[in-house]
């Protein structure tokens, strides 16, 4: 044996760290002489020499991690006779030894499938006319797709309506939703708030803003930015509320800053300004960045419950449906009360179920009050 490789130390461990060498280059070893101590995930193991011989080289120093099958010790004098030729034949990389060599004689079976047949000029035509060539049935020789086929397909396609690339906020929305769908692990809680104590004059949006500020105080774990790559969360000191605003051009989410420390009147004015800026398309991008939590008050349009989508790095979004009169059990009787349906989504990577439910409870407690005083 020329090279002694780190043997399998059992229990499926694939690597070990060198703790201490007990031999050095040039030492003459007896069989079973202690060579090296290595530490696996489980224990320190002493590795003996499998044969007598002279040490020609040691691979690695104390602290190095060696994988099973990698060389540990080189013995002298056992070089294979590699010939008398000029030039160096490189020896195989040890990890490659006994390399798998699976091959198919001749053609792969999956090659029976044939791809589309079309000349390069016809393919270029299809590209220019924005036609998916895969969907065209060829009418030419050997079912090849002709220029006429492509033009016909393009005409048919036009009759169905034009496709248009997404732009601006619509494009941003698509990207944010894709990111959310691929990263976030959402949980949505639904519940109803009985708001029969409210007088008619309540500003629903401001009640929701107030409730969110209150809930963030009670349960700060949802006013958080979460970094899924580093697996870290940042508890934020201020609550900056993103408010979804629907427009013909798409979905805008301007940010109402620091909702815990401003009066509701001041916040209402701020929100009106933001909405105005969105409507007139004059909102600067920075006014739509840095939200710590989101509110989607879709109830003004339609809808009861939803599964609102969390947009990273935020971990929470509240959806509010429309207030409606419902028959509910109240103090042992069937009564008709106004009911506000809520849908709270949180990212379960960052937030526990308990935190989510406590947050929702705080929201509901605040919303159930007669007013915000």
């Amino acid at each position: 044996m020329k090279y002694f490789k780190l043997p399998d130390l059992g229990e499926g461990l694939s690597e070990a760290e060198i703790v201490e060498w007990h031999v050095k280059v040039g030492d003459t070893l007896k069989e079973d002489q202690l060579m090296v101590s290595v530490e696996t995930a489980k224990a320190i193991v002493d590795v003996p020499s499998p044969q007598a011989g002279v040490v020609a080289g040691l691979f690695g120093e104390a602290g190095d991690v060696i994988h099973t099958g990698e060389p540990l010790v080189e013995y002298e004098g056992e070089n294979d006779d590699s010939g008398t030729v000029v030039g160096d034949l490189s020896l195989s990389d040890h990890s490659q030894n006994n390399a798998q060599d699976d091959f198919i004689v001749g053609s792969a079976h999956s090659n029976n499938l044939q791809s589309i047949k079309a000349t390069p000029s016809v393919r270029a035509l299809a590209k220019r006319l924005n036609v998916e060539i895969d969907h065209i049935k060829g009418t030419g020789q050997d079912a090849r797709i002709t220029g006429e086929d492509v033009e016909k397909a393009a005409q048919l396609d036009q009759q169905r309506g034009q496709s248009e690339p997404l732009k601006g906020v619509r494009k941003s929305m698509a990207k944010a939703m894709i990111q959310s769908h691929s990263e976030v692990v959402p949980v949505t809680l639904h519940d109803d708030v009985d708001v029969h104590l409210w007088d008619k004059q309540q500003d629903i949006t401001m009640r929701l803003v107030h409730a969110i500020a209150y809930a963030c105080e009670q349960e700060p774990a949802l006013n958080v930015w979460f970094d899924g790559k580093q697996l870290s969360r940042r508890l934020l000191n201020k609550v900056d509320l993103g408010i979804a605003v629907d427009t013909e051009k798409g979905l805008f989410v301007p940010v109402l800053r620091d909702i815990q420390n401003r009066s509701l009147e001041n916040l209402r004015l701020g929100l009106n300004d933001l909405r105005g800026a969105v409507k007139s398309r004059k909102i600067p991008p920075k006014e739509m960045q840095g939200a710590s939590i989101t509110l989607s008050n879709f109830g003004t349009l339609a809808g009861k419950y939803a599964n609102p989508i969390v947009v990273p790095p935020m971990v929470c979004i509240l959806g509010a449906g429309g207030i409606r009169d419902e028959v509910i059990a109240f103090e042992g009787k069937a009564c008709v009360h106004p009911i506000l349906p809520l849908s709270l989504t949180f990212d379960h990577r960052a937030v526990t179920g308990g935190e989510g439910a406590r947050f929702l409870k705080a929201l509901m407690d605040d919303l159930a009050k007669a007013d915000t005083e």
Binding site: G87, S90, Q96, N111, I116
Partner: protein
Amino acid sequence: MANQLNSKTDAEVVESVLLEAVNLALHYEMAHDESVVVLGEDVGTNGGVFRATAGLKDEFGFKRVMDTPLAEALISGLAVGMATQGLKPVAEIQFMGFIFPAFEHLFCHAARMRNRTRGRMTCPMVLRAPFGGGIHAPEHHSESTEALIAHTPGIRVVIPSSPIRAYGLLLAAIRDPDPVVFLEPKRIYRGAKQNIINNGEALPLDTCFTLREGKDITLISWGASIMETLQAADALAEKGISAEVIDVATIKPLDMHTMLTSVARTGRCIIIHEAVRSFGVGAEIAAQISEKCFLNLLAPVQRVAGFDTHMPYFKNENFYLPNTQDILAAAKKCFSE
């Protein structure tokens, strides 16, 4: 070589590098066919400069394992004579760069014997030669001139790219009734080891081997460049591109069926070879693909090859040899719209 028995066939299983696989096949065939003889420079007493023929003379004697003078014309001339008179010579040209004096007998006689005699005589000889660069050897030791031989009708050109294929294809080459030039990629002579079942089972000649199945692009190569090609396939896989890898193995005659059916499906193709680019085997394959897969092609066929110059001295060898990055750059061209 660590030997053990294969439980199913009772055949010996031998862990071998490509070089040892050549040696193993020679041992097997000499033991099972008395008409097989080996000749060449240093093949007997020395066992071959790379040790490809080591042990043969001890086992089969000097009458079957012959050291020749340093004269390649003599080696191939002797082989033609032996082959037409009932022996199966396996002659070694020490390096492919020394093969030129042997061409006279190879091209003018071995290649024509069947045609000249209207099929009454054949020439069952094998000319083995290590070929290709990458071992820091001096001039004349690193050429890849397989296209010269492939251009001449009547000669098979076979190039293995793994120990298992070296074993199976060399046996097939020796048993073939016509002349075969068997080129051994010496850069991977001592590459990865494989377990070879030493049962004398040959692999078919005149067929490609599909090493990886893929659907987006077909990578075609042979010899030592298969290593870079497989690495490129791995790198492409990381980018979500599924590459089919085909080892041509028999350079002449080409198994175009396998290559054409693959490219007809993937629509993209890169041919990778170490030999100079112009007038090479890659050009022939590219031409046939362009003719027969024209309607399926999504991009022009690319070639990644050596430069049109002599193999440089060894310090510049790595600049000459096609590497994985070159293949990936060609792949990028195939996928750019």
